[in-house]
Symmetry: C2
Subunit: 146 residues, 2 copies
């Protein structure tokens, strides 16, 4: 019995965590589900009134960041047999845009890493935390070793 039809592997950082990828791939296989991958690149060009004037990030630097992320994710996606249409690498805020992408593509399970940080990080809300609270679908938080 398939529990999930469309699984989204949300890659949060440039760190490599094969245990998350393997779990997402296994769950997709067990459920014969579509597996997609997303990675949000923070847009440092977005206006920040508090720091206006000291933003030295150029459009070229931003494009380089995006292209570098695309290359990195492409390699991973190929290993996981994820087709190009299911690779979503864009500028955005991981806290909100993972949930938006999941909504837009009728994802029913988001798989992401969770560091289990405490204190201030917990209070302010980590990405995993924000996704857990805002997602309209199930969320699997894969525990990473801190």
């Amino acid at each position: 019995m398939a529990t999930y039809q469309h699984i989204l592997l949300a890659i949060d950082t440039s760190e490599q965590h094969p245990q998350i990828y393997d779990k997402a791939a296994s769950l997709a296989k067990q459920n014969q589900a579509t597996l997609s991958i997303c990675h949000l690149v923070e847009n440092y060009l977005a206006p920040d009134l508090a720091y206006e004037g000291i933003n030295n990030v150029t459009i070229e630097m931003q494009e380089d960041l995006l292209n570098s992320a695309k290359l990195q994710i492409k390699t991973l996606a190929t290993d996981l047999s994820i087709s190009e249409e299911q690779q979503w690498i864009e500028f955005g805020n991981p806290r909100y845009d993972v949930v938006r992408l999941a909504d837009e593509h009728q994802v029913d399970l988001i798989v992401m890493g969770s560091h289990g940080r405490h204190g201030l990080q917990l209070l302010l809300g980590s990405t995993a935390n924000a996704v857990l609270h805002h997602a309209k679908c199930d969320v699997l938080a894969v525990r990473l070793n801190d």
Copy 2:
């Protein structure tokens, strides 16, 4: 390929949510994993210095609560083919004791419901949130309709 060996279905409330039970059971079947179930009954007899003197809960009332929870979980566990040894119904705080039970029994996936509440609930930390942040294993938050 089995992703999980021991799945713990953490029942948080007396509300019935068949979609969580079905998902936990499906994942256990897909992975040929042991499925356990836990439910923590809040211990209102625990001393609370701020409210000392107005605690009218008796030992008998507490025992009644525990026995009622045991009966309720037993019926559910039977439906899910969970043996008596894998049913853990105890006094405790769901925010901490779900994680403790998971540790003690080498659980590698906790399945629980998540309401996705916002505001104060998010700041104070819901049970799913606390478990997500403290668990040493993976956590699957099954989205419930609010």
